[in-house]
C-alpha cells in the first residue's frame, strides 16, 4: 500500500511542487494550508508522515505539533524559513524527526522522507527502478545503465532523466522539468534545461546529434521515446 504523506504549508505553489514530486515517487499526498486544516486531515487520513511548515497563519506548525502529538506519533519533517537554532531546538523538543530549510530541492526532500520512513520502520513505497528501451534508472541505488554499461550522471542530469523516464512518450515542458530540478528555489531560466539535455544526450545517446532516446518536441519541450 502506498504511504500517505500530509504536506502542510500556506504557500500553495510550494505544496504543489512537493506534491508532484512525492507522487512521482509513489507516495499518496494529502494537502493542508494551515494547522487547523492539517489537524483535520491528519485525523481523517492518518498519514504515515507529515511535512510541516512552521510559519503559517491561524495555527502555526508548533501549535499543530503540540495538538497532534496528543493523538498520534506520526513522524514529522519540519520546514523552516532559515535555520534558527531556536527552531531546531523547539522542533526537536516537540518531537520532529528532521527539518529542512527553505528553499530546498526535491531530491533533498525525498532523501529525508526516505530516511525518516526507514528510521521509523516504515517500508519503501515501491520499486525504484525505471526502465524503457535500453535504459535503466535505479533511484534507490542511484545508478543509470545504458545496455550493460553504467553511466555517471550529475544530479541534474539524473533528475532530468528520471522525470522524463517516469512517463515515456509524454512531453514535458521546460518549466515542468525546471521544477523537478529546482523545486522551491526561485525561478530559473528555462533554457538551462536545454543545456542539461545536451549534456545528458552526450552521455546516453549513441549519436547525440541524432538523439534516439530523448526527443525534442518543438515548441513544447522534451520527451523520452516510448518503445
Amino acid at each position: 500500500m502506498a504511504k500517505t504523506i500530509l504536506v502542510v504549508d500556506d504557500e500553495t505553489r510550494l505544496v504543489s511542487v512537493v506534491e508532484a514530486y512525492l507522487e512521482q515517487e509513489g507516495y499518496k499526498v494529502v494537502k493542508a494550508s494551515n494547522g487547523r486544516e492539517a489537524l483535520f486531515a491528519a485525523r481523517q487520513e492518518k498519514p504515515d508522515l507529515i511535512i510541516l511548515d512552521i510559519m503559517m497563519p491561524e495555527m502555526d506548525g508548533y501549535e499543530f505539533m503540540r495538538l497532534h502529538r496528543k493523538e498520534r506519533e506520526t513522524p514529522i519533517i519540519l520546514l523552516t524559513a532559515k535555520v534558527e537554532d531556536d527552531d531546531k531546538v523547539i522542533g526537536l523538543e516537540l518531537g520532529a524527526d528532521d527539518y529542512l530549510t527553505k528553499p530546498f530541492r526535491p531530491r533533498e526532500l525525498i532523501a529525508r522522507v526516505r530516511a525518516v520512513l526507514r528510521r521509523t520502520g516504515i517500508a519503501e513505497p515501491r520499486a525504484q527502478v525505471l526502465r524503457e528501451g535500453n535504459i535503466t534508472l535505479d533511484r534507490e541505488s542511484h545508478f543509470v545503465k545504458v545496455g550493460e554499461d553504467f553511466v555517471d550522471l550529475t544530479p541534474s542530469e539524473f533528475d532530468l532523466l528520471a522525470a522524463l523516464l517516469s512517463s515515456p512518450g509524454r512531453a514535458f515542458s521546460r518549466l515542468d522539468l525546471l521544477d523537478r530540478l529546482q523545486g522551491t528555489a526561485f525561478e530559473g531560466y528555462e533554457r538551462t534545461i536545454d543545456v542539461h539535455v545536451k549534456n545528458l544526450r552526450a552521455k546516453i545517446e549513441q549519436d547525440p546529434r541524432n538523439p534516439h532516446y530523448i526527443e525534442t518536441v518543438y515548441g513544447v519541450g522534451y520527451r523520452f521515446r516510448r518503445e
Copy 2:
C-alpha cells in the same frame, strides 16, 4: 532459521527504530508495548531473546520478568531510561543478561544482542563476512583485510565500510550513513561522514587522492565500487 527477538517498549517509535535495525541484521522481530502484551507474545512466538523496557504502564518490566521467568529462560536485555544503580541491581538479580541505557546507538544494541546470543549458545543469523574486490570485512571477528593485509579501523570507519560494503554499487546518502553510525541523523552534521570517508580512504586505498574502492557520487553521497 532467523532468530526471533521480542521488543517490548511503550514508545512505539523507539520500537520501530529498533525493529528496523534488527531486521536489517537478519532477525525476525515481534513487538509488544506493555508487559501484558509481552507475556502473550512470548508464549506465542517463543522468542530467542527479549529486549525489554523497564518503565511501562500496566505491567512494568520487572513484573514481566518475574512472570516470564516462571515459564521460560529466554535471555533478556533491559532498557533503562538512565543508569540507576538500583535498576541495574534489581534487573540483574532478576536474571537479565545485559542492560542498555537510553538513548543508545544501533551498533551498541546489535553488539549486545550478538553477545548475549553467543553467550547463551544461540547461533548467529547470517553470514558475517562481506567481500568485494580486494576487501574483506568480517563483522563477527571484526576485522578488515585489504588483500592479505589486516587494517585497523576505528568503530565509525568499520561501520561505514560495512554499510557501503553491504551493497556494492549502491550510492548511500550521507544521511543514510549517518543513520548507520549514530542511529538518528537528525542531530548530526552530515559532513562528518566526509571526514570518516577521508580517514577510511587513507587506510584502505592505495592512492587516497584517487580512490578506487570508495567512490564519491557528487550530490548524493558515496558508494563502494562494484567489481
